[in-house]
Amino acid sequence: MNDIEKEHVSLRVQRGGPDDNLHFDTFELPFEPGASVLDALIEIRRNIDPTLAVRYSCVSANACRECMVRIDGEVDYACTARLTGGTMTIEPLAKKRLIRDLVTDIVPPKEQLASVVAARKQET
């Protein structure tokens, strides 16, 4: 990879929810050596498009395991995947229900608000 390619990175990010026309937005960011894909997504939310939806908690400790997405087609944690130069494509998990943008439904069934409400209705 040459130096010019390294200076910028383009992130193609899937946008939209289950009822929308899914499409990709491309964001251009400066390339920071060592930065993770999650760093870039947070940077997009902070400085380019705050409406981007992405799930994360521990930020970069790879402890919470909430930030799993598809990166160039491969499932990975956004916090441990490094930015490479050039263009990277970021999509939500394919096998989970899409909520919006990169957020999918990874909440265990029994921890869902809806299932708790349903269970309590049955009891009474």
Binding site: G17, E66, R120
Partner: protein
């Protein structure tokens, strides 16, 4: 997006599902209560608990003879006169029961020849700290408690609901208002007892070890409900947090055991040792107290002798690779995967905000001055006084969580819900106004992130390691301006998983908590423990008192009160 309001009724609502909240839920259910456990993130994943990698202090005496009273003495000594002795005693005595209980629950404490291994963390007089290999304490604790919560009858777990306000009726808590992150729908929960286990506040500082959910939420919820806070000025900074190069998948405080085991050299930007210039002996021994190390790094940067990213160099280049590998096995591989070869390069470290000693003021039953409102975990203030011993935070979460759940359950037994919908109307109105869906959030109109970034910088520079009346005064007026700016910020759109809604409520809490820290720091005109006043460098014996913060009709007010004695 249809938003269907949801209402639930329970005996005990637990807000936050870290170690404290999960323990509270289990113990409240053991006490016969119906429990709802909510977290804005996922149960057991959102806070500090799952990130902890080091040790847990408890006088189980497996490694060497020990007794909880010795643990207590060490805790009191670290707290510099301000520990609530009753809470500290409870913490040290019951930590033993909790560590043994977690052992029964198969958390997996590291063992050797049939006994639990214990190491001596800084400030402890005996090897007392248990752990799970390798650097896996927090994840194991979180997994174990998650399993326990799931197996216990009577606990409903809800992930992805953020609580935005508690509801109070006639001076007693009657429930809470929140929203479902997925669709923004309001959620009301009637409960005659609420346990606040929402964790700490270090996310309000620019350099921190926090997750995304550690912006001081429990403190702000408590304040708005009429509860008092205590010791808010005491934020613990960890001296050698990781700064650069970018390191992922590892705890930012991981360098401490490296230094203790191998003796890393701490160097300024000119690659010279400097700690000895600040009145501490460090060279070759690495025993300089944490506060001295922190201040020395900040001072070197002020003098233009910082490392490139504004910290200090930490070098292990003099340590042979065989020794590095013997001491840290697989961790060395993880570092190499991060592009860090300790035999060839120094890394950069800096003090980072790591833990909060202060918090919600509670009695020995973990109850606040608002009837039915309990607190547990890092959200609680008092047990650790002006400084915390390393390894005391997780036991605090276990012990106080267990107690809060137990007393809350006993408290509500046989009661009918005090909930009345009108008590929740103000909180629901704010929620509705903030998510009216009419405004499309345009990036330009969206000021949340700018406010948050400014707050973190402000807290770091003016309410951080070195404080003066001037810096605190400036911070206080700016925080209040930022509060008005936040009020004026646009409402969230109507999209699913609209994080701007959560951002707004997070930031409201963070600004309020920041105000409490700054106010308390300003009126403590002395230096003690983690609180350093450049303009009042001595410890003043007359100020061996705890400071409280509360919300009054005229705003936030501070007060003094004698330290709780046994």
């Amino acid at each position: 997006m249809t938003k269907e309001a949801v209402h639930l009724t329970t005996d005990v609502l637990v807000v936050g599902a870290g170690a404290a909240g999960m323990y509270a839920a289990v113990s409240a259910a053991r006490g016969g209560a119906d429990v709802v456990l909510v977290d804005k993130s996922l149960i057991g994943r959102g806070g500090a608990t799952i990130m902890a990698q080091m040790t847990v202090a408890a006088a189980v005496g497996h490694e060497a003879p020990d007794d909880w009273t010795r643990h207590y003495e060490d805790t009191i000594a670290a707290g510099r006169g301000l520990c609530d002795e009753r809470l500290a005693a409870i913490l040290c005595e019951e930590a033993v029961d909790r560590i043994l209980e977690l052992d029964e629950w198969k958390v997996g404490w590291a063992r050797e020849n049939g006994h639990m291994k214990q190491v001596t963390a800084p400030g402890h007089s005996v090897p007392r700290c248990v752990y799970v290999d390798f650097l896996n304490t927090g994840p194991s604790v979180a997994r174990c408690l998650r399993g326990r919560v799931a197996q216990t009858d009577g606990i409903a777990r809800i992930s992805g609901v953020a609580i935005v306000d508690l509801v109070v009726r006639d001076g007693a808590v009657s429930g809470a208002v929140g929203f479902n992150l997925e669709d923004g729908a309001p959620v009301t929960i009637a409960a005659n007892a609420v346990v606040l286990a929402g964790g700490g506040l270090t996310g309000i500082y620019r350099r921190n070890s926090a997750s995304a959910n550690m912006g001081g939420h429990a403190y702000a919820l408590a304040l708005r409900a009429g509860a008092e806070l205590i010791d808010m000025e005491f934020v613990q900074f960890f001296p050698i947090g990781h700064l650069a190069p970018r390191l992922v998948g590892m705890d930012p405080i991981m360098w401490d055991p490296f230094r203790y085991k191998l003796g890393g050299r701490l160097l300024n930007g000119d690659f010279e040792e400097f700690i000895h210039n600040y009145g501490a002996e460090d060279s070759g021994k690495y025993t300089a107290p944490r506060d001295v190390t922190s201040f020395a790094i900040v001072r070197e940067n002020e003098a233009g002798r910082g490392s490139p990213h504004g910290g200090a160099w930490l070098s292990f280049e003099h340590v042979p690779e065989t020794e590095l590998r013997a001491a840290f096995g697989p961790v060395i591989e993880k570092l190499l995967a991060n592009g860090i070869d300790l035999t060839k390069q120094a890394i950069e470290v800096s003090p980072i905000a790591h833990y909060h000693m202060g918090g919600v003021r509670v009695d020995e039953r973990m109850e606040t001055n608002v009837a039915g409102l309990y607190a547990a975990g890092e959200a609680v203030g008092g047990a650790n006084g002006a400084n915390r011993l390393s390894g005391n935070a997780l036991p605090e979460a276990f012990v106080f969580g267990e107690r809060a759940g137990r007393f809350a359950a006993a408290d509500v037994r046989g009661q009918t819900p005090a909930w009345a919908a009108r008590d929740a109307s103000a909180a629901l109105a704010t929620l509705a106004a903030r998510s009216d869906g009419r405004t499309e959030t345009s990036p330009d109109a969206y000021t949340h992130h700018a406010i948050a970034a400014e707050l973190r910088a402000l807290m770091w520079e003016k309410v951080g390691l070195i404080r003066t009346d001037d810096s605190l005064g400036t911070a206080l007026s700016r925080i209040r301006e930022l509060q008005s700016e936040l009020e004026a910020a646009p409402a969230a759109g109507a999209a699913a998983y609209d994080m701007s809604l959560a951002d707004w409520f997070d930031l409201r809490d963070s600004l309020q908590t920041a105000e409490a820290v700054t106010l308390a720091a300003r009126s403590r005109r002395e230096s003690r423990g983690a609180h350093w006043r450049e303009d009042f460098q001595e410890t003043d014996p007359a100020l061996e008192e705890n400071q409280t913060v509360a919300l009054s009709a005229d705003g936030m007010v501070t007060g003094w009160q004698p330290v709780g004695r046994r």
